[in-house]
């Protein structure tokens, strides 16, 4: 199908973009960046915005820089930017591992990191990374700028706390210290498909045992989130298969899959068990 008619604006500056969004937001206006989810939804008429504010030409939104111990990712930074480490240390290597699981390359050349975050698909890899590492989202409108930490940004399936007139201008990820181990695992039926379940695991080793464990699970509940039960099972343990299996088991029990059929929910729990265990094991290898 073809998208419904809309008015189109292509501002060149952030101020103009914010002003344009403020003007059209009350009248079903939306932002378009990479468009790799939005245009597909428009083609299917699932989305029929009356106005689109295209931020691709806005100067400065493609910036990717390190400030105050954080990787600051501008609104128009494409997924492909992460195909090679964008920063030395574990975070850059980790993001490179994750990016190859996002759709296919012709999608990654257009789709943006921040777009994935605002789209808030439960199966978004970047939403899982943001939830697990504790990202900060910087939103701007004509009313001002505010920073919203995750958890607290994504509310549920494709829903965030952003107001219609707010533009997500930047996402900030905390840099990971040199010794941090990070793992990622995703299960899907075909390369590039939406995940059936996926997990991010990070931790450090002190005195031979796990400290500061973080375990996140995505594509299972209405939004990606950390699983405190799995993290508790890891804290103070020797990083080995036995501890990973106990943590994976804890995660499988802790999640509430959004599946209507009980047998599918049970299946999802089993996949959670597998991806958490694999993410923890993978963390031994990605440095």
């Amino acid at each position: 199908m073809k998208p419904s008619p809309f008015s189109y604006y292509a501002p060149k500056t952030l101020d103009d973009a914010i002003a344009a969004l403020a003007a059209v937001a009350p009248h079903d206006g939306r932002v378009i960046a990479g468009g790799q989810s939005l245009v597909a939804a428009m083609a299917l008429r699932l989305a029929q915005p009356a106005h689109l504010v295209d931020i691709n030409a806005v100067a400065g939104l493609d910036s990717l820089e390190i400030r105050d111990g954080e990787l600051c990712i501008g609104a128009c930074v494409r997924h492909t930017a992460f195909e090679h480490p964008v920063v030395d240390g574990p975070l850059g290597a980790f993001l490179t591992t994750v990016v190859h699981h996002i759709a296919h390359r012709p999608i990654r050349t257009r789709g943006t990191f921040c777009g994935s975050i605002v789209n808030a698909d439960p199966a978004s890899e970047w939403c899982l990374v943001a939830a697990t590492l504790g990202a900060k989202m910087v939103a701007r409108s004509t009313r001002g700028t505010r920073t919203i930490a995750e958890p607290g940004f994504v509310e549920g399936i494709m829903t965030t706390v952003l107001a219609p007139d707010e533009l997500l201008i930047e996402v900030r990820l905390p840099l990971l210290s040199a010794g941090t181990r990070c793992g990622f695992n995703e299960f899907s039926r075909r390369a590039g498909d939406f995940a059936i379940a996926m997990s991010v695991a990070t931790y450090r080793i002190e005195g031979g045992v796990i400290v500061e464990p973080r375990v996140g699970v995505g594509a299972v509940e209405s939004r990606a989130r950390r699983i405190p039960e799995a993290e508790a099972a890891l804290r103070g343990q020797v990083p080995a298969d036995e501890a990973f299996a106990i943590a994976a088991d804890a995660a499988a029990h802790a999640v509430t899959p959004i599946e209507e059929k009980p047998e599918l929910a049970e299946y999802k729990r089993e996949v959670v068990r597998a991806v958490v265990k694999r993410a923890l094991a993978a963390a031994e290898t990605i440095r």
Binding site: M1, K2, P3, S4, P5, F6, S7, Y8, A10, G35, Q36, V39, A40, M42, A43, L44, L52, D54, N56, T80, H104, R105, P106, I107, T109, R110, R190, A191, G192
Partner: protein, 163 residues
């Protein structure tokens, strides 16, 4: 504005002045207004890859981009692959190795493969399979598509070595 606007698209090195509504996708514009019907529209929502074109050296789904967004960019379509009567090594290999059956997915696969081999001429077999998994062939002729792209990879490598 939702009314039609005049834009210029640069496709295969030539300029095309067209008048489009903002909602007009690049795929439809290439086909209907530029007369470049080599780019096929399959699913029209980014799944099949039949409309893959190369924009500023990167593969892009032409159904997930509006024509108004492609102004000022270098667009390449399947019509630009051959040099006059001389087929591109990928086109030659697709014919020689029976990499097309109905042919609908072929332009998309050719442009996808061209983008892959231009960016990574020495790409390994496993990575090549993953890269080509971006597009769908409803005849399921994947084995021969992969075979043809491997052959083209070798041909393009030796052409590069000769130069």
């Amino acid at each position: 504005m939702s009314h039609e606007t005049d834009i210029v698209l640069t496709v295969n090195g030539g300029d095309y002045a067209v008048r489009v509504e903002p909602r007009r996708t690049l795929a439809d514009t290439l086909r209907d207004q530029c007369g470049l019907t080599g780019t096929n529209s399959g699913c029209e929502h980014g799944i099949c890859g039949s409309c893959t074109v190369i924009i500023d050296d990167e593969p892009v789904r032409a159904c997930l981009m509006f024509a108004v967004q492609a102004q000022g960019k270098q667009i390449r379509t399947v019509e630009g692959l051959a040099q006059g009567d001389k087929l591109h090594p990928l086109q030659r290999a697709f014919i020689d190795h029976h990499a097309l059956q109905c042919g609908f997915c072929t332009p998309g696969f050719l442009m996808l493969a061209a983008s892959v081999l231009e960016r990574e001429p020495e790409i390994g077999d496993d990575d090549l399979r993953v890269a080509l998994s971006a597009n769908l062939c409803r005849c399921t002729g994947y084995k021969n598509i992969i075979k043809a792209v491997r052959v083209a990879r070798s041909v393009m490598q030796s052409q590069k070595a000769e130069r």
